[in-house]
Each structure stands twice: as structure tokens, then as C-alpha cells.
């Protein structure tokens, strides 16, 4: 499967999974779920940038526009919804791998798909990865400082702390 086809199929699979689990299929939920999957090593080849509400990939938006044109999904101001031509085209084995990661993603969120919680968890994960990628320590204090530099005073230290604790074991590399 070509990489761009994989990304498109993964997008649809994540959307279908969230829908089946009665989770929100908001744009921000899709952005953060796909970001998490990429950080878990899935070859989505999406370029996530630190944006207003946490990591954001323009390519996700473009994939959604392509799918909308093909009648596979509909897009409104805040949500993506499967459309009349929707078909989950991801091979079963790839689907199983993604499902397992998505279950874990829900646990990390504490099953709270609110806008703020998605933004916070996405931002903390991005900050952990950005510090490490730039050769800096991703200890708790550094990550809290980084999140505060990005998000100002929007999130209480205790909330950043909790998100960090949930993510650290999976993502913070030990020396």
C-alpha cells in the first residue's frame, strides 16, 4: 500500500472506530488520535506543528477534504462524519494494530474527549517529544515549563502534571 493510501485508510479507520465506540469524531479528536498513532510509530508521515490547540497537521485537514470530495465523509465546522460512500479500507491486520493503540489512547485521556483535555494531552505529548528530539531533557519540570510557554496560564500545573504522568512511561526515554 502506498504511503498516502495508508494515511487515508488509517484516517477512515480511526473515524469508524471512534464512531463505533460512541466517541466524539471532532476535528480535534481526529488530529490528536492520529498524532498519537504516529508517535507510536505508525508510518502516517504526517507533519504535526505546534498550533493554537496543540499539535496540528494540515495534511489531516487535506486528507479530510479529499475524502469529503469523494463522498466518504462529511465535514462541518467542528466534526467529521462518515458519509454515504464511506468504506473502511484498512487491511484487517493494520486495523487490529490501530485498535489496540486507540484503546490505549482512550485510557490516556481518561476517556475524556473534551476539547480542553484533547488539547492538553496532545500538547504535553508534543512537548515531551519536541524536547527529546532537540536533545533536551523531558523531565517533568522541563515539560511543564514548555507547556506553560506554549499555552500560557491556560492549564493548571496539576493538570499538566497528570497528563505528564500518564504519558511518561510510554514516551519519556531514560538516559
Amino acid at each position: 500500500m502506498k504511503n498516502s493510501d495508508y494515511t487515508r485508510s488509517a484516517f477512515k479507520h480511526v473515524l469508524a472506530w471512534l464512531k463505533n465506540k460512541n466517541r466524539q469524531t471532532s476535528k480535534i479528536a481526529m488530529q490528536k488520535a492520529l498524532f498519537y498513532l504516529q508517535e507510536k510509530g505508525l508510518p502516517l508521515r504526517l507533519d504535526f506543528q505546534p498550533y493554537s490547540y496543540g499539535p496540528f497537521s494540515r495534511q489531516v485537514m487535506e486528507t479530510a477534504s479529499d475524502l469529503e470530495r469523494a463522498g466518504e465523509i462529511s465535514v462541518d465546522r467542528t466534526d467529521y462524519t462518515p458519509g454515504p460512500e464511506f468504506a473502511d479500507t484498512l487491511p484487517e491486520e493494520d486495523g487490529r494494530e490501530i485498535n489496540a493503540h486507540l484503546e490505549r489512547f482512550c485510557e490516556l485521556l481518561g476517556h475524556d474527549f473534551s476539547f480542553d483535555n484533547l488539547e492538553l494531552v496532545g500538547t504535553v505529548l508534543y512537548c515531551i517529544q519536541a524536547l527529546q528530539e532537540n536533545g533536551l531533557d523531558a523531565d517533568k519540570d522541563s515539560v511543564i515549563r514548555e507547556v506553560e510557554q506554549w499555552k500560557g496560564t491556560k492549564y493548571a500545573k496539576s493538570a499538566i502534571n497528570s497528563a505528564y504522568d500518564a504519558l511518561a512511561e510510554e514516551f519519556v526515554k531514560s538516559d
Partner: protein, 402 residues
Amino acid sequence: MQAATNIFEEVLRFNPELRQGGKNDLQQNLQLLRFAALLHDIGHMPFSHAAEKFFLGEDISHEDIGKYIIQNCTEISDEIQKQKVSPNAVANLLKGKQTQVLAILKKFISDEFDADRADFLLRDSYFCGVKYGEYDYIRYAGSFRLIDNEEGEKAFAIEKGNLHAVEAFLLARYHYYLQVPYHRTRKGYDIVLERYFRDLTERNHLPDAGVDAAGTSDTEIDFDRFQFFDDYTIFEQIKNDMAGGNPWAKILMRQDRLHPVFDTEKESEGNENDFLDLQEELDNTGLKEDQDYFTFDKKVEVHKILEKSDEKGESVYPVVDKNDNYKMIGSILDHSSILESTRKKPAHLRRIYVTTASKPTAEKALTRCRQRIEAAGKGKKGEHHEKFRLYTVRIQARSCMA
């Protein structure tokens, strides 16, 4: 690099807290920004975007190559380190995750209003000998402020008094795109160049760029080969292939050309149905797409600022008023009637080109297509019929001149 420096220094001029010794010292990162701006296109292949997918495949981009070069080419990384700058930080500014400080710097080199565009518009228009692309660079470079939005996040804003400079920049860019990269003659050569590369790929004759692009993590580059692999290398191959009878090489050496037989810029000149009808007519005559004829379908926007506010109501590209303590007074779209009115009406370029050998057949197909549409429009005085006639007349006139 100079444009990035100018815009950066102008932002710092109006944001004292970002200067050396300020509470958010960004000044110390100027050298990092300059390296990133200087090197941001170092990973481009010859003829840049037209060649990229053939040499690098679908999964990696020139930015991945640029990142690899900065991190692995010691001649470059040593020079960066001599200036006490981290090559990794420079590389991550091109592609990768950024810390908050790096993310601010990234906006100077990759954004709707970035230094790259500010620079290439003026440079390209100068070297192409056109006036499209010119704008008030000095005023533009001083148009931006870094502000804390309502939630304390850093955001770029446009100072109200500079709105016309920003509008002029976006309009200059729009006209430049239409008149230079998407000009019908130049675009015809782009199409042929891609067709030529595809031909080389299919025949396994693509020259060795020195890049083993298995994937971003497995990429390897032979720097000795890569550094001299440039437009001249490709031109040499084109010359040789022309001598060997390659029809695409002949066009690239300007001994032949593609002929536009359908060329519209807006719906009133011919809509999507006309475009598809003609393609179908060409197919029915036995002409093959990407061999005998080529299509080009592209929307060219004045800008990509689609909404006044984002999902949570924050202004997209906010405007601030220096006479009111740099208070945010809405989005750029609230304050620019030109940008607001052009937001949802991009130029839509739809073209069909044919080879010289296919031109007589294509012209007959075009006539048949036109007659069919005219017949369908008879008695209705259809607007569609009138529009179609307009552009076909224009095309016929062009055919007579060719």
C-alpha cells in the same frame, strides 16, 4: 536569510521583551534562524518540485533531505557549531518537532507571511524580467508583531497601519503565481519535464542523484555525488536523450512544444463540464492522456486564510492597533475588504495541452465538441453556450497565430 533577518529584527524592534535581556529573549536565536533560512531549501533536487517525487518517491520530501544534510554533512554541521548553534535545532526548524521558541522561529521561515515568500517573489520577478511579484518590501517586513492572545499564547499579528502592505504582498504573490509558475507556456514545460522524468523512471534511466531514499530513517546520501547533481546534470541528459529521439527531451530543448487547446481561468470562460467533455472527445478519437494530451487543473488562491476565526473563536491572523496599545481588533479578514472578497473565489485554471502530432486531431475534436454544445444550447439561448463560444474563439485565434 536576509528577509528572515529583516522581519525578525522588525518584530524585535516592537517587542522589547524579546530582545537581549528581556523576559523572553528571542534575540539569542537570530543566528539559528539565519542558518535555517539559508539552508531551508538545501534538500531540493534539480528542477525542485517537478523532479522530487521521481528521485525521492512518495514518502520523503526535500525537507527530509535537507534535515539529513544538516545533521550528517560535517562541512555544514561543523560551520553551524562554530557559531554555537545546534545543527539539530536548525534541522528541526526545517522538519521535525519544535520547542515553543523554535516554533516561533519557524513562523519566520514557513507561514502564510514567511520570509521565503517575501524573498522569492522579488528575486523571481527580477530574474524573470516581470513586474508581477513586486511589493513594498520594507514596509511589509515591518508589518508584524508578536503578541500574547487572550489565552496567553504567542501569536503573530498584523499592525493595522500596515494592512495595505500585507494586502499588496498577497496580491503580488497571486499575480506572480498566475503569470510565472502557472503561466500557460511555462506550465506546459513543467508538464513535459515531469513526463520526461516519468519516462526515465519507467525505462530505469533516471540518473543517480546519490540519494538512497528508502524512508526518512533509512535515507542515505552520497554527498560527493549529490553536491554536483544539479540542473546542468539533467540538461546534459536531456541533450543526449534528444539526440536519441526522445520526444519529451526535444520539447525541453525547445525544438517542439505543447499546444494549449483549452485554457480557462474562471467558470464564466468554460466550466468543468466543458473541460471533461473535451477530454472525453479526445479519448474517443484515440488520443491518450499523458502521451498525446495533458490536463492541468489547479485552483490559485489569493491567500489561504479561509476563516475569520478558528474552531474556538480566536482570530486567524489578528490585527492590532498601535494607537490602542496593540489591542486585537479582529481578523485580517475583518479589516481587509479585498482579502475578504477574494477568500472564496480562487482562480480556477483548467487547461488541456496537446502534442504537435496530436494537434490536428485535437482541433477537430474541439470543433465537434463545440458544435455539440452549441446544438444543445440552441433555442435556449443558454448562458453556457455563450461562454463556451467565447473561449473557443479565443483558442482558435491562438491556433491561427501558432
